[in-house]
């Protein structure tokens, strides 16, 4: 539970870690230029916990998941999922670009 290993599978999708949850926190944070500390302060957790969430090593409580969703202005299912997210490039441009799942 407490180890941090980041592996990438053959299809390029990062496994969800020990929580079994995929998430887009790192992408959303990078997109908006938000530091871990800022996000942690906003949702009331330690910044280390944000790292655990991003790696999927910790599954958030329902309350924390909603708080993160409210912070980013997105529904919870847009940030957390039990299945791998479709890459944004594929969502925007479709399969014609040759993007693999």
């Amino acid at each position: 539970m407490l180890t941090q290993h980041i592996n990438v599978t053959d299809n390029g999708i990062q496994p969800p870690g020990e929580s079994g949850l995929y998430n887009r926190i790192a992408v959303l944070r990078a997109e908006r230029g938000i530091s871990r500390q800022s996000l942690a302060d906003a949702v009331g957790v330690n910044y280390q916990t944000i790292g655990f969430l991003e790696r999927g090593d910790y599954g958030p409580s329902l309350k924390l998941a909603f708080q993160i969703g409210e912070y980013f202005g997105l529904p919870v299912e847009a940030i957390f999922s039990t299945k791998p997210f479709v890459p944004l490039s594929q969502q925007v441009y479709g399969a014609s670009t040759g993007a693999t799942r």
Partner: protein, 217 residues
Amino acid sequence: MIAESPKYFWFSTVRRRTRRLVVVVYWTFVLGLFGVYQWALVYRAGHFGSNDLLLPLYVVIFLPAYLGGVRAGGIVKPFNGVHWVPLPDRHQTQTLFGSSRPLLGKQYEQPPSLLALKLRVYQPVPAGDDSVWRSDERELHQRDHAHYLAFQAVGVVICVPMLIASMRLIRPSLMSWIPMPPDAMYYGLTLVTIILFLTLPQAILLWTEPDMEDVQP
């Protein structure tokens, strides 16, 4: 769950390797202390003196403070998420001595003495938004898991003296090889149980928590 600036240590606790080294040194010290204590008891054929209470008092009061958890200021954040501040207006506080002058500074990293609490010089305050003291939900989950593992180990340790005690009652001849008197042995095992009870959860946290990450990656 790991404090970023522990009071009793001058080195960084960001790296797990460092924290594991602290645990090893700490337990080596405790085992050495305990070994000397047991040797002294055996050497004196189990006769307790008033000085023999010093080590248990030291173990209960001071040893856990270094690792934290049960008290603030150690490497591990306080488990109860409470830090201690003086009452906001001491002029309105009825104390035994009736002093209206603040005796100490404005904030404390150490819990006050029981006497100070009884005299209402201090009050416990929930840690609020202070991340130095407050544990979030992941850290609370880690805390509970560490206690679960630690209490399993403590349970095993408690079973050992019970089994030995039972054997001594049923078959005294089988246990004659133990070189120390029964009271010294039971007293020592009880002390080990107390030490484990007070420090093992913190040691598990320090051993398992990965390296801290940078704030701004």
